[in-house]
């Protein structure tokens, strides 16, 4: 699939995500809007996956470590055929399998349960190491938030990935510069990320994480080391009044805001 097609799908996913968050009255819309282009490129171009065989041992592994943006993952999985598209209506409803953080035992296509931050990357290291042990050809991808890189467990995993020479592992950091309560720069600034990862022995690529022409080649890039993509993104990308404001970490738009956002995203379709 070409970047222009991926851009179209990403806009559709943004629109459905907005609707789902508005209907459910909860979600993490800012970080969902920042990560949707990355998810779209993975699920509609890069990942070797079979929606009708979610446990196929040869599948590429993908872990959404920033599990609070589950709604964006659910919409993407639905659009890709892992779950019914009309099931998105159940997001956060009683007994829905689509709760606020993804559950691998209920939702096909989810590899491991995430939610508490700093969990996805260690698990992804284990997945990549397993492929090295078995000779399997799958590639492992994991997306973390940038605030999430404040968790020490991530740096344990970063050291291990280098030690294990995991050239079959790609870490994408959704670098939208905001965490729940404030800008990273006002909290515990992990930037600049590139020199830190390089010092730990990783190959690092920096891209515009909301630009398909940069996302696709970065995700498809292979080398001799574990690969980190520092994806510079915008929190709330695609919705003008949400963009780059800390307020929209998990705020829910009111009716007026929803109409404006809907119009902006629909116009882009």
């Amino acid at each position: 699939m070409e970047p222009s097609d991926l851009e179209r799908i990403a806009r559709q996913i943004r629109l459905r995500d907005l609707q789902a968050v508005y209907e459910a009255g909860a979600g993490h819309i800012g970080g969902e809007m920042s990560v949707i282009d990355l998810l779209t490129a993975l699920y509609f171009r890069v990942l070797r996956i079979w929606p009708d065989q979610p446990k196929n041992p040869d599948r590429d592994r993908f872990v959404l470590s920033k599990g609070h943006t589950a709604c964006a993952l659910y919409v993407t999985l639905a659009k890709r055929g892992f779950i019914p598209e009309d099931e998105i209506h159940t997001f956060l409803q009683p007994h829905s399998r689509l709760n606020g953080h993804p559950n691998c035992n209920k939702v096909p296509g989810v590899e491991t349960n995430t939610g508490p931050l700093g969990h996805g990357l260690p698990v992804a290291v284990g997945m990549a190491k397993a492929a090295k042990l078995s000779g399997a050809g799958y590639h492992t991808y994991v997306i973390t938030g940038d605030g999430e890189m404040q968790e020490g467990s991530n740096w344990e995993a970063i050291m291990a990935a280098h030690q294990f020479r995991l050239d079959n592992l790609t870490l994408v950091i959704d670098h939208n510069r905001f965490q729940q309560g404030a800008a990273l720069s006002d909290t515990n600034d992990v930037a600049p990320l590139r020199p830190k990862l390089e010092a730990f022995g990783w190959r690092v690529t920096e891209i515009d994480g909301n630009n398909m022409h940069e996302i696709v080649p970065a995700l498809e890039s292979r080398g001799d080391h574990p690969h980190c993509i520092v994806a510079h993104t915008n929190k709330g990308h695609g919705i003008s009044f949400m963009q780059d404001t800390v307020d929209w970490h998990h705020k829910v738009p009111n009716k007026e805001q929803y109409e404006i956002a809907l119009a902006e995203l629909s116009e882009a379709l």
Partner: protein, 318 residues
């Protein structure tokens, strides 16, 4: 003049663990050992020399160790995570909850040197909270074998069980209690001695102590039942209810805090189904003073004689 004492040979259960794991790994190439610079303390030297590529040593990084194990299981490997119990369960508790228990990852967690095995090293190195932390997690059987035979049986069982579990092992020597060839059954208590006056329940390093306590009680004319309750979860409710109804009093003894451990688990069943007087022996909710594990168990009232005395005091409350 005292009769000659026949001192039984004591075994470090880590040896049985390591030998069994090496044997299983020979048969099953998916088995990997995951550790945190704990090759020596987990007795993995043999595994390392036989299967060097299958020893995944993450260094001193327990959170990553447990996450990596979950990922290895996702990728079709069968990981045994081998690490000192206090750091495995305490440092990586959230990883065990989210990555292993909630995700239902097929990972075998092996807590070595549990309880107060690191006695003199002090409370930072004691693992007297792990029953409480582990048994509250869904999908996670919690098992504390009582001797080398049950250890080997449990390690073998774990390989055939589809799902995670927590094996709580010690380094403190214990005598053989179960017959050679014993097959481990999850959630099944072993009656080591029949009795009708009181029931003594323990697991791990305490089982041989309650066996001796029962012998002391027998000399005093008290007929004590002895249950080895290796599986703390899922617990053998039927054996506990039968013990309560048929003997009318239950003493538990554990190398763990009396809060949330084996005694608490037994008490939950007793309260729900067959209330009888109980005495829970263990560490009484404090950080232990300096001393070896054996010294501390005696210090906290778990010498065989003290256990026998506690049983007799309890019987008076029936």
């Amino acid at each position: 003049m005292n009769a000659p004492v026949n001192t039984p040979r004591l075994h470090d259960c880590r040896d049985a663990f390591a030998a069994t794991l090496e044997r299983l790994a020979t048969q099953d190439e998916t088995i990997v050992a995951v550790c945190n610079d704990s090759v020596g303390s987990s007795k993995l030297s043999g595994f390392k020399s036989k299967f060097p590529g299958r020893l995944v040593n993450v260094g001193i990084a327990e959170q990553n160790m447990v996450g990596v194990a979950a990922g290895l299981a996702n990728g079709g490997r069968l990981p045994y995570v081998c690490a000192a119990a206090p750091f495995l369960t305490g440092r990586s508790l959230e990883q065990i909850k989210a990555d292993i228990s909630y995700s239902n990852a097929n990972v075998k967690l092996v807590g070595i040197s549990s309880g107060m095995a690191y006695g003199e090293l002090g409370p930072t190195h004691h693992s007297i909270e792990d029953f409480a932390w582990m048994r509250v997690l869904p999908n996670l059987p919690v098992i504390a074998p009582c001797d080398r035979i049950e250890t080997a049986a449990a390690v073998e069982w774990a390989a055939t069980y589809s799902g995670p579990c927590f094996l709580r092992l010690s380094r403190v020597g214990v005598p053989d209690l179960l017959p050679e060839g014993h097959i481990f059954e999850l959630g099944r208590a072993n009656v080591l001695r029949e009795g009708s006056d009181v029931t003594l329940i323990a697991n791990g390093t305490l089982t041989h102590r309650i066996v001796k306590a029962a012998e002391i009680l027998n000399e005093r004319g008290v007929d004590a039942r002895v249950l080895n309750l290796a599986t703390v979860r899922p617990i053998d409710e039927a054996a506990i209810i039968a013990a309560a109804r048929e003997t009318g009093a239950i003493v538990t003894a554990e190398e763990h805090s009396i809060f949330g451990g084996l005694g608490s688990a037994v008490a939950e069943v007793v309260v729900d189904y067959a209330p009888v007087p109980m005495k829970r022996l263990g560490v009484p909710g404090i950080f232990a003073p300096t001393g070896s594990a054996e010294f501390l168990l005696d210090e906290f009232g778990m010498s065989p004689t003290a256990i026998a005395n506690a049983a007799q005091a309890l019987i008076k409350r029936k």
